[in-house]
């Protein structure tokens, strides 16, 4: 890890620290639970949030890599026509309302949503259904697997990170 990288931990408790001369950060006496860890450093693309479940005892080690941003970044704003005032309004506009566990994400490149000649990134989330709300014939049963598409994502092109901001769904 880079010396001076900033590490932020959020979950049962929140902590942040700066990497030492060896590039390490250590957080001690953390309560068990689910945490997101974010890494960032000057002039580098922030790492995707890394999610992990900390057990009640023992030690967990996480290695994070930061790379430069691509020469250009893309952002797509999704807006218009959505009533998000309440979960009832959101549910009325949705085909499915499901509690899921994200078990995998892949990002690929394809033709732009705008149907021009540019390329957009799309992230496919593989999810396992834990519970379906809004019961209908199309509602997937618990345990079934689905793929949910979302615009945007990050692709590691080796030397740099190509980033298309659209929506930030993480595991």
């Amino acid at each position: 890890m880079l010396v001076g990288a900033r590490i932020k931990l959020t979950g049962v408790v929140s902590r942040q620290a700066t990497a030492n001369d060896s590039g390490f950060v250590s957080f001690e006496a953390l309560p068990a639970g689910r945490y997101d860890v974010f890494a960032s450093a000057k002039d580098l693309s922030p790492a995707s949030p890394h999610v992990f479940d900390l057990p009640g005892s023992g030690e967990t080690t996480i290695a994070l890599t930061l790379k430069p941003n691509a020469p250009t970044a893309r952002a797509t704003l999704a807006c218009g026509g959505l009533d998000s005032r309440s979960i009832k309004a959101l549910g009325a506009g949705a085909v499915l309302v499901i509690h899921v566990k994200v078990i995998g994400q892949t990002t690929s490149e394809g033709l732009s949503f705008a149907n021009d000649s540019s390329m957009d990134l799309t992230t496919l989330n593989r999810v396992q259904v834990l519970q379906s709300f809004k019961s209908s014939a199309a509602s997937p049963p618990p345990g079934s697997l689905m793929t949910v598409h979302q615009g945007g994502g990050r692709i590691d092109r080796g030397e740099f990170i190509d980033h298309h901001s659209f929506i930030g769904l993480g595991p």
């Binding site: 049962v12 998000s84 309440s86 959101l90 085909v95 499915l96 309302v97 899921v100 519970q131 809004k134």
Partner: protein, 59 residues
């Protein structure tokens, strides 16, 4: 928790953008969005959220 729409090819996408995503972290609601329903449920207990969803999604 995902609120999903589907297109004519059967592709499921998130309803809206961040508004259709509510993460559950350590028994609490952690919405990806920041207004409307997201603001109303941010930090509340997951069990209360699920109970509210049962009511909200029942016609």
């Amino acid at each position: 928790m995902l609120f999903l729409t589907v297109d004519g090819r059967g592709t499921y996408t998130i309803h809206g953008s961040e508004e259709g995503v509510f993460r559950i972290r350590n028994g609490r609601v952690d919405p990806l969005g920041d207004d409307g329903a997201a603001s109303a449920w941010n930090g509340r207990s997951a069990s209360t959220f699920f109970a509210g969803l049962q009511v909200a999604t029942t016609k």
